[in-house]
Structures are given as C-alpha cells and as structure tokens.
C-alpha cells in the first residue's frame, strides 16, 4: 500500500490494525486465564501452594514414571486433582460455552443485547435437565442429562421463534418478549416439577441450584458430560463464523451474498442450543456471562465473528473461573450462588464499559 493511504488511515476515528488489537487481547487474556486457573486451584478452605499444584499436575498429566509422588501428601493430591481441578475445568467449559452461545445469538438477532437466558434457551435447558433428573433417566446413564438439556434448549428456541415469527419475519423486539415469556413459563414448570417430585428439604436446594447456577461438588464426571459437547459446539460455531458475519448485515444482504439463510439459521440455532444445554446441564442457569463477555470482548477485538468467537470463549472461561472463585471465598464456609456472583460482578462491569465507551466517544 502507498504511504499516502497509511497516513490518511491514521485519522482519529480509525481503529488500529485488527491483528494488533487481537494480539494485545491475547497477550492480556491468556496470562489472566492461566492465573485464574492457578488461583482457582490454590485458594479455598485449605490453601495449596503453587509448587504443590504443579507437582500434582505433573504427577497426573505426565506419563507415569516421569515424576514420583515423593513429598506430596495424599490429602493435597485429592484436593487438587479430585476437587479443585475438575471444578475449574467445568467453570472454564461453562464460561466458554455461554460466551460463545451469546456471540451466536447476538449475531443471529442482530442485537448486541441478546443472550441465552434472554431468548428462553437457558430456561429450556433447565427444564430438559430437570425432567431427566426427576424422571430418573440421569440415574440410568448420566449422559442423558446434557442431552436432555440440549434438547430442552433447542425446543425452547424453536418455540420462541415460532411464537415470534409471522410471515417469515422475526422482529427482534417480539423475539425478546417471546423469549422472556416462554422463559418464565418454562422456569415455572421446572420449579413445579421439582416441588412435586422431591422430598421436602431438597426441593429448595435443587430449585436454587438450577435457577441460580452453581459448581459445588463438580467432579471429573461433570467434565466429561460437558467438555465434549462444548468443544463440538465451538468447532461448529467457528465453521459458521463467516455466515454469522453476513447474517449480522441483514438477511437480504446475506442471501444476496450467497448464504443459504434458512439452513444457516437452523444450524446456528442448533449450535447455540448445544452450547447452552451443555453448560446448563452441569452448572444450572448462569445469567449475564453470555451478554457481558461477548460485549466486552467485541469492544477489544471488533465484531468479526471469526475473531470474536474464540476470543469470547477464552475470556469467558477466565471470567467464570474467577466468578466461581469469588462465589466460594467471599463468605466461607457458605458458598454464594454462582449466578448471583456473575450478576453482581457483571452488572457494574457492563455499566463501566458502557460509560467508558461514551466517554471516549465524547472525548473525540
């Protein structure tokens, strides 16, 4: 490119090169993710030193014989490997899944304020999981729990789309209203099912778990229930990232540029349901993550979905690990519900970002 063009493109409202912005993002967020993983394992009712953590991870993850357990006591190994590591890994998967689902829904609905909880997918996933739970299917085969949650999320999305669509057109406002209405209804049905099917003292606990989310007592089983679906969803979402960019420009534009609109929307709805269902099955409904993380990340790396999807998944993983850390350390030994923490941390964070953006806009 000629130097003249480069000079002109430095005008005040131009953004720096996309690659530079992406580089800065990962240089900041990857160490943050590593730190939050370490902190999530180290901090708790029994503090564990980082040397011990690394020794246990070496012991468990390297081929046998490379290191030995000398100097490690069995309690540390159990706390690190069987209690804290799976919890951190589940938090990372759930955070990544909800953030990526948020990115997809925001692009599909062309609205930066859409998220899994708002369009009914979360409530549908909860209902699916609750049905599998009270019917005892999850006792037969645990994998039925995430599958039921995914199916629930998908049916809820189809129902919401069906209610909100007239003559092939889905107005965003109607869609959000339908999402909130259907969501409330499905949440009520979940609570009712739990109330009718569980012995007294557990009722409240289970309802609170599913509606407000939580990662208490998560094990490696939960990791295997969630991680494969999340990975599949993320890869599938990446394969659709250009379609998402085009759909974000409007359906007519997308169609005129060669996107098979209906097939693409179906595929993306399914991927969003897959990610939401996989997250909800192991953590209950956690609000705000799918709204805040993509929104914040978009301000840093821009709206192109090819960049935004992996960036949001990474940031979402770190965000939820830190929120879960806060949930169990703010007021020990009682754990605050994870959904409460995400809302408490997420709300002000969101407002601050909005304020910063408007301040920057006025400073130009």
């Amino acid at each position: 490119m000629s130097t003249q063009v480069d000079v002109r493109s430095m005008s005040s409202r131009s953004l720096p090169r996309p690659r530079l912005r992406i580089g800065i993002f990962y240089v900041t967020v990857l160490p943050l993710l590593a730190l939050s993983v370490l902190a999530g394992i180290a901090i708790g009712s029994t503090p564990i030193g980082w040397r011990t953590i690394l020794r246990v991870l070496e012991l468990k993850m390297l081929p046998s014989g490379w290191t030995d357990a000398a100097g490690l006591n069995q309690a540390d190994i159990v706390i690190v490997w069987l209690i804290r590591v799976p919890r951190v890994v589940v938090a990372a998967c759930v955070g990544a899944a909800l953030s990526a689902a948020g990115v997809i829904m925001q692009a599909l609905l062309r609205n930066p304020l859409a998220e899994p909880g708002l369009v009914g997918a979360g409530s549908g996933a909860v209902l699916g999981a609750v049905i599998a739970f009270v019917a005892g299917w999850s006792g037969h085969s645990v994998v039925l729990l995430p599958i039921a949650a995914i199916v629930g999320a998908l049916l809820a999305l189809i129902l919401v789309y069906g209610v909100a669509t007239r003559g092939g057109i889905t107005p965003v406002a109607t869609l959000l209203l339908a999402g909130i209405a259907v969501g409330s209804l499905l949440t009520a049905v979940s609570s009712l099912l739990l109330s009718l099917n569980i012995v007294d003292w557990q009722i409240g606990q289970e309802i609170v778990f599913w509606m407000m989310g939580g990662l208490d007592a998560r094990t490696w089983t939960h990791v295997w229930l969630c991680a494969p679906f999340v990975l599949l969803g993320l890869v599938a979402a990446m394969s659709q990232s250009r379609d998402l960019d085009l759909l974000q420009q409007g359906e007519e534009t997308a169609a005129s540029l060669g996107v098979e609109i209906e097939a693409s929307k179906r595929m993306l709805t399914f991927i969003a349901a897959l990610l939401t269902g996989a997250a909800v099955a192991v953590a209950g409904m956690i609000g705000f993550v799918g709204l805040i993380v993509p929104h914040a990340v978009r301000m840093m790396v821009g709206p192109s979905n090819r960049t935004l999807l992996p960036a949001s998944a990474t940031a979402g993983a770190a965000f939820l690990i830190l929120c879960d850390l806060a949930a169990r350390t703010i007021h020990p030994p009682i754990e605050i519900r994870l959904g409460v923490v995400t809302a408490l941390f997420g709300g002000p964070f969101f407002i601050a970002l909005l304020l910063r953006r408007s301040w920057e806009a006025s400073a130009r």
Partner: protein
Amino acid sequence: MSTLEARQISVHRGGRGILHQASVSLVPGELRAVVGPNGGGKSTLLRALAGIWPVAAGDVWLDGKPITKYPRKELARRIAYVPQEQRLDFAFTVEQIVAMGRYPHRGRFSRESEQDRRAIELSLERCDIVHLRRRPVNTLSGGEHQRVLIARSLAVEPQFILLDEPTANLDVEHSLEILELCRVLACGGQSVVLATHDLNAVARYATSVVLMQGGQLTDGGGDQQLLDPRNLEKVFGIRAELLSTTDGQPVYVFHRRSETDSETKFN
C-alpha cells in the same frame, strides 16, 4: 452473453400481491433505471431478480435456466444486490464490510486469495473510500455508508448489479460520482439496474427505463414515451415540465398538482 430475465413474475408478501406479471430482460452493458411512485414495486422487482424473494408465479431466468436451479453461491457470484437502507449496531470496519463481497468466492475456511485482495482494493478505490478503510461503519455518514455498500457489491465482481436507491442518502457530488461509476461499470460490460426517484439522473445517465406503478410495469413503448412529461404527470400525480440546459441536457421541473388546484380555487 449473459442475460437475466424475469418472465411474467408475480410476488406475494403477507398474503398480498405486490408484483403482478412483470417481465424484464437485462443484458450486459446497459444501465437500466427502474422508476415509479413509492409502493410501485421497484424494490420487489429487484429482490425477485436477485433471487432473494421467491416468486409466486412465473420465473426469473439466468442464461436460459431458472435461478432457482442455481446453487445460492453461484447466483451470488453473478448477481449483486444492494438493499435500500441498512444501519448496523456493530462496529465492523469498512474494509471488513467490503471484504464480505468475496464471501461467495471463498470456501468455508480458505484464506483471502490474491484475487480477493485485488477486488477489495479496487472496490475501495472506485467508491473513493480507501481513506475510510479502518473506520467502524457505524461512525460513517449516510453517504459514506452507501458508498461502502456499493463497494461491497463491486467486490463480488458480478455480471449484474442491482442497486436500490443508491443515491437516496448522497450529497450532490457523491451522487454524481456514483451515477458516473454506474455508467463506467455498464460501459465495462456489466449490467447495472438502478431503482431511483431521481428522474433527472435517469434522463441523463440511464440507457433504458422501466416504469412501475401499482406492482406492474407500465407498457407504453420506448423510453422517450415513458419519460414524457405527460406520462410522468399521470403516473406520479404531479405537474411536470421538461426543460433543456445550455448544453442540451434534459431537466425536469416538478410542481404539485394541488398548487394549480388551489390557484384556480382562489382566483
């Protein structure tokens, strides 16, 4: 030679017919203007020609084959469509938007090729938006934004370009630039269709005209007769005068019909 042809097409929307038995044939090298009152079916005709809206009757044919028989991406490589008004909440940069024009040429995971890059740069230059390339589109003026959308359609390198009121948001200078650009594209062998309300631009730039009213194409012989002030008065419900500039360009002056009515009433 490629042709895009609507044969007796009708379009229904929301249970209502909004285009009735329209027939149009487009060939390379022409700049076709589609004019008519609001709600006359101009945008609908363009959408049907681009294959975006399904037709209820008749067929749109591309090179002797109905467009419904083409894969969506191949159609997109050959026919570009720029919708009328489109603002966005998301801060894609100008360059990213224009690069989207290459979507129908690229595989799902393929990187940008040399040819993609050339097409994008050329489109930025032709629409005079090279200096805006890293600006987020939601910070642009209406005219700048319109030029970005046109640049995206040029990046497709299509045979047919369908533009829905591309000059509606533009100032005089940029409006003339876009019209000149359309003429250059037509001279270069592309077929350009322009839905517009600017009858002076039509008279000056278009190589042929389609006049639409009430979802139908107005029959009535050649372009001369369609653009005749008497005919325009009838179609638009106004009073029209056709003047001539010093260098011989035709210029329309329009008056509201009610002005004359009220004049007679008060006299």
